[in-house]
Subunit: 385 residues, 2 copies
């Protein structure tokens, strides 16, 4: 913060960006910073200001929201620059030092966009629902297992609710919760704060205590070419979920191992995957949450229920009986094709008379604040008598 005044003065004079800086007061270190680091910072408008010492560099940029912002070097060799206002929520970003994209040493690192790198939280008015509060906290456990189907060791994170360790008699329902494209099993607890969202809901009596299993949606046959597409013919995630993950979880944790007490949800790619998985396995699950995605993605065409997913949505009466919860979520600022694609799916449901809940996250895009809000809404609907 000490650097702000002289620097802004210097830049205002040197580059007549006074207007920009006039409205850029109240920059504060981001909550996603490495503890004690002053940069990056965020202001009330959601502008992101980055700063890094690079006396020998020729060009340093802040790369956020699909845009590169040139940073400016001061007399001490410290480069500083800021972005246009960003939507509230969580954004991956990086710095470019003489053209090389690198993580910002000031930020904590998150796995997304296919790499471990920087992320920044633009504060939202409703951030309390995923905040660390003085309520009982569950545990998030790293669970390693060997997958015969993929020939690899895999990992999932398992949330067990407050009281799970002490009350060894109780058995719990399970939500299987999937990440999106170019993300992994760390996303829902690190970026998503799924554990804190449930801790807060359970403390408020708004959600049933449940186990949440967060696994990795990428699963390929041994020696298959690596691909990021869940649509790949090589993908065997559904088989891994049904034949390996669920039996392992039911064997290791105190679950209620029936369809009535098993839900599945995912975001984006994970929504597409989980919708296919549940419709192929309605004997295993009774609730679906599709956050910012549906299995007709990326198409926005009218859906013919007789043919979509081999007619899995054709018998509305049967689906209304089997699916206790069919939840769809979408941010109001999501880019194409998400609104059109999810919209086409909703139109099909309405035409068919298939009951569902649609939640719109106000002012958020295709990012984690949308998905945290989806989870908070969805979790309250699950496993109710």
């Amino acid at each position: 913060m000490m650097m702000y005044k002289p620097l802004s003065l210097f830049m205002a004079i040197a580059f007549s960006t006074a207007a920009c800086f006039a409205q850029s007061d109240n920059f504060k270190p981001a909550v996603t910073n490495f503890p004690g680091k002053q940069y990056p910072q965020v202001n009330a408008e959601g502008r992101v200001r980055a700063s890094i010492a690079a006396p020998e560099a020729n060009k340093v940029q802040l790369d956020i929201g699909g845009k590169k912002y040139d940073m400016v070097k001061d007399e001490k060799g410290v480069w500083t620059g800021e972005s246009l206002p960003q939507d509230e929520g969580f954004h991956y970003y990086q710095l470019n030092i003489d053209g090389v994209p690198v993580p910002d040493p000031g930020s904590l690192y998150f796995y997304g966009a296919g790499r471990w790198g920087s992320g920044i939280e633009i504060p939202a008015a409703d951030q309390g629902f995923f905040a660390l509060k003085d309520v009982p906290h569950g545990l998030v456990s790293e669970n390693i297992y060997f997958s015969k189907l993929t020939g690899l060791w895999r990992r999932c994170f398992v949330y067990t609710p407050p009281g799970y360790e002490k009350d060894t008699k109780t058995r719990y329902p399970v939500l299987y919760l999937q990440h999106g494209s170019f993300e992994d099993e760390t996303g829902w607890s690190r970026q998503g704060h799924a554990n804190l969202i449930l801790d807060n809901l359970i403390a408020a009596g708004k959600a049933v205590p449940m186990i949440i299993v967060m696994d990795n949606g990428y699963a390929l046959k041994p020696n298959a070419e690596v691909t990021d597409s869940k649509a790949s013919p090589e993908s065997i995630f559904e088989q891994v979920m049904i034949n390996e993950i669920i039996p392992m979880i039911d064997g290791k944790f105190r679950t209620v191992a029936d369809r009535a007490h098993r839900a599945i949800a995912g975001l984006s790619m994970g929504a597409n995957q989980t919708m296919r998985i549940i419709m192929n396995n309605l004997d295993k699950f009774s609730a679906l949450g599709a956050f910012s995605g549906t299995s007709n993605y990326p198409s926005t065409d009218v859906i013919d229920p007789a043919r979509f997913l081999d007619g899995k949505f054709n018998d509305a009466a049967a689906i209304n009986k089997q699916l206790r919860v069919l939840f769809l979520g979408l941010g109001t600022k999501e880019p194409n094709p998400f609104p059109g694609s999810v919209g086409a799916f909703r139109n099909m449901l309405d035409k068919q008379g298939i009951k569902h809940v649609f939640y719109e996250s106000p002012g958020t895009a295709h990012e984690w604040l949308t998905w945290r809000r989806d989870l908070e809404q969805f979790a309250q609907l699950l496993f109710k008598k």
Copy 2:
């Protein structure tokens, strides 16, 4: 690997480093790489080769083992360079791009040296003892708690052994295991593989199933100046351990809550801390592991037991009765003052006739391979009838 031949040829011609490259065959991607990344690589000599595309950069260096190695740019703008042979074990490193130290995008990130950054494993002949094997695996749980003494939320990772979840009757002994200076509660599971070491020992019947608690050794009074020194008068880690961490763990997990079933160990700064903690609280613990550190650090002077730690080691008979295990570990390649400091402590123990076990890790320095081996040795001595 495809890049290797033309690059070495180019460099050999341009810089007559042929000799260096002649002995640099068989480079393989490091096990600590981000999955799928080809660089950094390690060869049989322990040389580290880094590579990064930086067409616009003027100078790129590999910074490892306290030495910066200039990397060389090829016609495609890819910089590559290699280090002198490194000791086997785990080493933090970074790249310098036009003078800016940044993590290597090819490596996974670890918390050490006060930052999240790159680390690389130089393979050791005995690496099997901390390898991921087809044996039953315990869980590593992230446990969040509020500390009234520090006024902050804190976190520890808790290893529960295989079977803990299923067999809800059994209670387990507990090892409190501390990291070193500029490291944190993530170190023992990420760099140290404490969970895998115990999984392997327990599967082989060499160690008693136990809970391991890995907390953060930095604990200050509210509003105290941040410091890295455990010797700081502000440090209240001992009070946090005794009054907050132990009661929380005994309340939340199925422990045997008595001194006979409670051990404490740490590395470097953590060894210094845990030795002070156990000698001030012999009613709470019955075993100590001091890995690459003792409480006389950094002094190498002869220790007067009547005055050292207020005479805590003065009554040899009482200590031999109370300490079921007093374990000291040191790598044969550790720098000063560790050999002299630990040596002075051992001399005091011998003069006093205080029973102890001293383990020397062959060929390793002040790093994680030494400490993994210490843990493997130490864990086998704990909680035996």
